[in-house]
């Protein structure tokens, strides 16, 4: 805060006749600190005292990088919207501005070129060659417009696909509707996460509270944690069949081992004074766990579970490819096979939306459940 003031007086060595930049620069910042100490933060001596005094506080230049200052609510909203808008605008630009990327040519009129069809996407160079050949031979030239590869549909196509896949019946007979496949995926996640939590949360808490139990379980859990969950896929199919069993098992394997370690760690980070206070008040063993350790860690446990639920989603796609393909992954792979990439994007978007919506809802619920916990974001 007083850097500017101090630097002005400290840096020139105590000798006289040195390059002291006049008394006005030395005194102006200190005069400013006297009148408005709270706003002297951003205005170092470099800015000059006079300017700093004239400019209203809100207009003063602030350093971009430094100690984090809270943003105003309006600015927070604007920035949040911007964070979505920037990638969206980039996508729109690449899709709609013809000279941005567009490495292909979509044929509108094949002319006399035998192998071309309307709607076909041809590399620019190949198209130019054909045009040149046709010109030389005097046959009808093909016509076309710049296009992006089929795997990058334009935003409006994805938006349309998003809406129709949610509302309309599928056109192919063997295709399933997006809402149904999504619902199936949500059920897989739910059961996988619940089964993992039923064992993982209590075990994690006990490991955190009991060093003996931690030592006898955590090394092996640490070891298994490094085995990628999908590697168990074939094994799970052999044990649990080809339907939902192995998929739920993959989610459980992917979540459980992390869960035990994360929650044990959270348990160990409880303020030890709280436990000591409880001990001096006569709390013991299981009652100590139930009445002090669990409530003390509950807000953080809740946050851990939110993060772990996010991880469970990442295992979903692999899990659904095991045995008979199902759920949102079946929808995505099927649509990709038909080259309906607009539907693929719609499905991926939906996963993102469901995930964030769940997380926001859980965060909101958390603030209501633990009003005393001020670290809750």
């Amino acid at each position: 805060m007083r850097h500017g003031v101090e630097r002005a007086s400290l840096l020139p060595p105590a000798g006289e006749g040195g390059p002291r930049s006049g008394s006005d620069e030395g005194s102006a910042p200190s005069g400013e600190t006297a009148t408005s100490p709270a706003h002297s933060v951003g205005t170092l001596a470099r800015e000059g005292g006079k300017d700093a005094l004239d400019v209203p506080p809100s207009k003063r230049r602030r350093s971009w990088i430094g100690v984090a200052r809270p943003l105003s609510p309006r600015r927070r909203t604007v920035l949040a919207i911007l964070s979505f808008l920037i990638p969206l605008l980039t996508w729109a630009a690449v899709s709609y501005v013809p000279f941005l990327w567009h490495p292909l040519v979509e044929v509108t009129d094949p002319g006399d070129i035998a192998w071309m069809e309307p709607g076909m996407r041809v590399p620019k160079a190949a198209f130019a060659d054909e045009v040149a050949t046709a010109k030389a031979a005097g046959t009808a030239e093909p016509a076309g417009k710049p296009a992006n590869p089929v795997y990058l549909p334009a935003p409006h196509e994805v938006a349309t696909a998003f809406w129709t896949s949610l509302t309309a019946q599928p056109t192919q007979r063997d295709a399933i509707r997006l809402p149904l496949s999504l619902w199936h995926s949500i059920q897989i996640i739910f059961w996988g996460f619940v089964l993992s939590s039923i064992v993982g949360v209590p075990l994690g808490i006990l490991c955190g509270a009991q060093p003996t139990l931690a030592r006898v379980t955590e090394p092996v859990i640490e070891f298994v944690r490094y085995m990628p969950a999908p590697a168990f896929g074939a094994l799970m199919v052999a044990i649990l069949g080809i339907y939902d069993g192995p998929k739920i098992a993959i989610i459980v394997i992917g979540t459980f081992f992390q869960q035990v370690l994360v929650i044990a760690n959270t348990t160990r980070r409880i303020e030890p004074l709280l436990i000591e206070a409880a001990l001096t008040l006569g709390a013991r063993n299981l009652r100590l766990i139930r009445r002090v350790i669990v409530p003390a860690m509950l807000p953080q446990l809740y946050r851990d579970q939110r993060i772990l639920l996010g991880w469970a989603w990442t295992y979903l796609i692999v899990a659904e490819l095991i045995g008979t393909s199902s759920g949102i992954t079946f929808f995505i792979t099927q649509q990709a096979r038909y080259q309906h990439f607009d539907n693929v994007y719609a499905a991926i978007l939906i996963i993102g939306l469901v995930g964030s919506a769940t997380d926001l809802a859980l965060a909101w619920l958390g603030r209501r459940l633990f009003p005393y916990d001020r670290s809750e974001a």
């Binding site: 006289e16 004074l273 000591e276 206070a277 001990l279 001096t280 006569g282 003390a296 005393y372 001020r374």
Partner: protein, 309 residues
């Protein structure tokens, strides 16, 4: 550093060991009460990381009587916190015995309440439930525990905050609730580990007054750790002075300041004599030269003629 001491109060020929008649009578009465806490040859050593051991406490002997107010002071690192934690049963001694009313201590228990330096109220419980916590842990049904807790809150004057949560209270209020919580299980001894050191000067003075009021009204022996020597003289019947490296009993001082105490007594000869003795024990004169800042330590970085002092 101090060529001139600005105010020289005449230190009358007063020995901190001379007690006026009412004080002596009080101590006689105190010592005739049964023993509340007995500490016998208490020693605590820690294993050093590189091998070898550090002696934190060495051969501490102490006897306190029922309803005594004992303060423990000492230089930093003398092990006063370790001492009180052993009394609480939160740490084990290497050798020696601690007994409360004749019963040896083997772990934390409800016969010794403890108030910590930091805030240790359970943030997820209301003030009332915090105070009721110890009662419930010791088998009192919830309804009854809460009724009793309400009475404790009345004693500390915080009935109005029964349904508040700890984060809504000020620091001083939190420590009052912590005291009520520690007292609710009716311990024989209340251990306090620098309980007011996080508070500002005014709240601390108020808390000291509260504590004395509580101590007068209920049958409790208090062992109070502090590094504030004035606080020790103001509160204590006797002051246990520990020395550092190893932590040993330097002296057990009987405070000659008469009760009831007030902050005006800080200028009385008894108070100042006791305080002077504590200073001499805790800051031996030879250390002072080492600690004071020599004028040449800091390089001058200002121009000549711009002196501030």
């Amino acid at each position: 550093m101090n060529p001139v001491s600005p105010v020289v109060l005449p230190l009358e020929a007063c020995d901190y060991r001379t007690q006026c008649e009412p004080v002596r009578a009080r101590f006689d009465k105190l010592k005739s009460r049964e023993v509340a806490l007995r500490v016998d040859k208490l020693t605590k050593t820690f294993a050093k990381p590189g091998g070898g051991t550090t002696v934190a406490l060495k051969d501490i002997d102490l006897v306190t009587h029922r309803r005594e107010f004992l303060c423990v002071v000492g230089p930093s690192g003398c092990g006063k916190s370790t001492f009180v934690r052993i009394l609480a049963g939160l740490e084990t001694s290497t050798s020696g015995v601690v007994s409360v009313e004749g019963v040896p201590v083997s772990g934390p228990g409800a016969d010794r309440g403890m108030v910590f330096q930091g805030y240790t109220l359970f943030p997820w419980l209301s003030v009332l439930r915090n105070v009721a916590f110890g009662l419930e842990e010791n088998g009192t049904p919830r309804r009854e525990a809460e009724r009793e807790a309400r009475q404790w809150l009345a004693l500390i004057g915080l009935e109005a905050f029964a349904d508040s949560y700890p984060h809504q209270l000020s620091g001083g209020m939190k420590q009052r609730v912590a005291i009520a919580r520690a007292l609710a299980t009716r311990p024989r001894i209340l251990l306090m580990d620098e309980p007011f050191s996080a508070l500002d000067t005014q709240s601390r003075a108020r808390m000291q007054a509260y504590l004395i009021e509580i101590w007068k009204k209920i049958d409790i022996t208090i062992v109070f750790i502090t590094h504030d020597l004035d606080e020790a003289v103001h509160l204590a019947d006797r002051i246990l002075v520990l020395s550092a490296h190893p932590g040993e009993v330097a002296e057990l001082i009987e405070v000659p300041v008469p009760r009831p105490r007030s902050h005006n007594q800080a200028l009385t000869p008894e108070f100042r004599a006791t305080r002077a003795r504590l200073d001499a024990l805790i800051h031996p004169p030879k250390d002072e030269a080492e600690e004071s800042v020599a004028p040449d330590v800091v390089t001058r970085m200002t121009s000549a003629g711009d002196e501030v002092e």
